[in-house]
């Protein structure tokens, strides 16, 4: 009897010590080197063993920003305990959407502007500039296809007409409209499908009334190389590009006629899979994108496109520094 009481007291003391220890550790990381302002234990994704029986296949399109985003969502979901597979490098959005419907992937990151403009053929001038409005529209349309759209990321990305700063200064170019009268001597480079798109070459010709000396199709990965090498005077770039953030060598012309809609990223997922995955799915997706402001995505893009690091490693570091994973 006395032995039991001693043991109980010891156990209580042990528990108290442990509790104090945990509290101390938790408090200690607040002043640690990783995160400031947010308590890491709040942000940390908790692994739920029940999620292990759900398999999520995360897809992405085939350029740097999409690879990074795909990795961020995939690693976040993995931390939440899901069984995650990756199918990055799917190609264009129609293929990606089809892959969701066919059950080949569970979801992928899409841009509101692309979802509305490409998947649902909404004319560019009818796509809302406001992020929440665009999201609401996309969400409604996608729901009809059995696809769930999650709330948008802080940052927005859009196509833009870029050029060398030296060219812009020489010809006094600030807006796209400034190209009038000058562009017929200029070569425009863009992805092959840009030629037929109203939010790309077709729109530049119709809405802006511009004529170009030539349109050169190039792979997205070469969009800055063509400017560097002088193979093109103008190139279709992305506003969140690493190259724009890290040097003044390139200039983006302002879309004064608002031809090209901006898009925040929304994660699209098959409703079936989302339902099966439970509330942790939504929570994780919304959590991991919380710190994706424009400077942050530019930083991540820079690490991949300039420092040539791997998207997986870059995403991992982002998740760790944000306190989402350990």
């Amino acid at each position: 009897m006395r032995g039991l009481r001693v043991r109980a007291a010891l156990a209580l003391m042990l528990a108290a010590v442990l509790a104090l220890g945990i509290a101390a550790c938790g408090g200690g990381s607040d002043t640690g080197s990783t995160t400031t302002g947010a308590s890491s234990s709040e942000n940390l994704i908790q692994s739920n063993p029940a999620n292990g029986k759900v398999t999520i296949t995360v897809g992405s399109k085939n350029f740097t920003e999409e690879y990074i985003l795909g990795e961020i969502y995939a690693q976040g979901l993995e931390a939440a305990g899901y069984n995650v597979k990756k199918k990055l490098n799917l190609g264009s959005e129609t293929i990606a959407l089809k892959a969701i419907k066919d059950g080949q992937i569970s979801g992928y990151p899409e841009y509101t502007s692309t979802a509305l403009g490409s998947l649902f053929s909404v004319p560019a001038d009818q796509i809302p500039a406001n992020a929440q409005e665009a999201y609401a529209q996309a969400k409604a349309k996608l729901a009809n296809e059995g696809v769930v759209a999650y709330p948008p990321t802080p940052f927005a990305d859009s196509n833009a007409v870029g050029t060398l700063t030296s060219t812009a200064e020489k010809d006094n170019l600030t807006d796209i409209s400034d190209l009038k009268g000058v562009s017929q001597n200029m070569v425009l480079a863009g992805s092959p499908e840009c030629r037929e798109r109203i939010d790309c070459l077709v729109g530049l010709e119709k809405n802006y009334g511009l004529q170009f000396k030539k349109f050169t199709p190039v792979d997205i990965g070469l969009r800055y190389t063509v400017l560097d090498k002088g193979d093109a005077d103008l190139s279709i770039v992305f506003t969140s590009d690493a190259q724009l953030a890290n040097s003044n060598k390139y200039t983006v012309l302002k879309d004064d006629k608002e031809l090209i809609p901006a898009g925040n990223v929304i994660f699209l997922a098959s409703k079936k899979v989302a339902d099966e995955a439970g509330p942790d799915f939504t929570d994780t997706i919304e959590k991991v994108q919380g710190n994706l402001t424009l400077p942050v995505i530019q930083e991540l893009n820079s690490r991949v496109d300039i420092d040539k690091e791997e998207p997986a490693a870059v995403a991992h570091d982002y998740l760790m520094q944000s306190g989402y994973i350990k």
């Binding site: 947010a38 799917l90 953030a245 890290n246 983006v252 901006a262 420092d307 791997e310 944000s322």
Partner: protein, 251 residues
């Protein structure tokens, strides 16, 4: 969320604002100088540090090639053996394998995508089809080149048609068959760099992820060629080892 589009503004902002949940030091300036940042011809330091990014794709590539060549070889061999007996089938089979050879693999990949989806199957089918012609033709040529006296000797010994085929004709046909196999393997290794378009991975995937980074392109190219030549060497050595009685034919 407005799009920042003025010159220079992005550059200044990146240093000032990061995100509330991240330390300001997370967002840095990245120099576009030096070998890696400035896209020099070949950056050995980077190649050594980042070698692991090619390891997975390398073995995946090997897997794709192995499956494609084995499948193609099996089918082509079967067709050759069958049409060796029923010679009327040879012209149409030559034509069919020729057509399959002519269809560029990239077109074939995109054709199959809606049917077989992303993955190994979509890559393997066109790659195997591509090998059919060379293996089929070479096997037929090998069988046709079997000396008549060898066959007579076999018949003289009382061999049945089947025994003749497996004990006399095929062994004597191996030089041509192996020659065709070698060509098939090397070609398949090269074309499989496009398999990433079918969602199957392979060495083309890291290439396409950074298609303007010269070091990356050279690494993928070098690894692909190394794989092709090594596999070729293995086949040559295996043949010499397994069939030392075959005189090395002049190439």
């Amino acid at each position: 969320m407005t799009v920042v589009a003025a010159k220079g503004l992005l550059f200044a902002d990146a240093a000032n604002r990061c995100a509330p949940g991240l330390p300001a030091s997370f967002c840095q300036h990245h120099e576009t100088t030096g070998c890696v940042g400035g896209n020099g011809l070949f950056c050995p330091g980077w190649a050594v540090d980042n070698f692991d990014r090619y390891v997975g794709p390398f073995f995946r590539h090997l897997e794709i090639v192995a499956i494609s060549v084995v499948a193609g070889f099996a089918v082509a061999l079967a067709l050759a053996l069958f049409s060796h007996r029923h010679r009327v089938l040879i012209p149409p089979l030559l034509g069919a394998t020729g057509v399959l050879y002519t269809i560029p693999s990239i077109a074939f990949f995109f054709l199959l995508l809606p049917i077989t989806g992303f993955g190994l199957v979509t890559a393997v089918i066109p790659l195997s089809a591509y090998t059919l012609q060379i293996i089929y033709r070479n096997t037929l040529a090998g069988l046709a080149n079997v000396p008549a006296d060898a066959k007579d000797a076999g018949r003289g010994m009382g061999m049945s048609d089947r025994q003749l085929l497996w004990r006399v004709e095929l062994p004597l046909a191996t030089p041509e068959v192996v020659a065709g196999l070698r060509i098939a393997i090397v070609s398949t290794v090269a074309i499989a760099t496009l398999a990433f378009l079918a969602g199957a991975g392979g060495l083309g995937a890291p290439l396409y992820a950074q298609p303007d980074f010269k070091t990356n392109i050279i690494m993928v190219g070098a690894l692909t060629i190394a794989m092709a030549l090594t596999l070729d060497l293995i086949v040559v050595l295996s043949r010499r080892f397994l069939m030392p009685w075959q005189r090395a034919r002049p190439r």
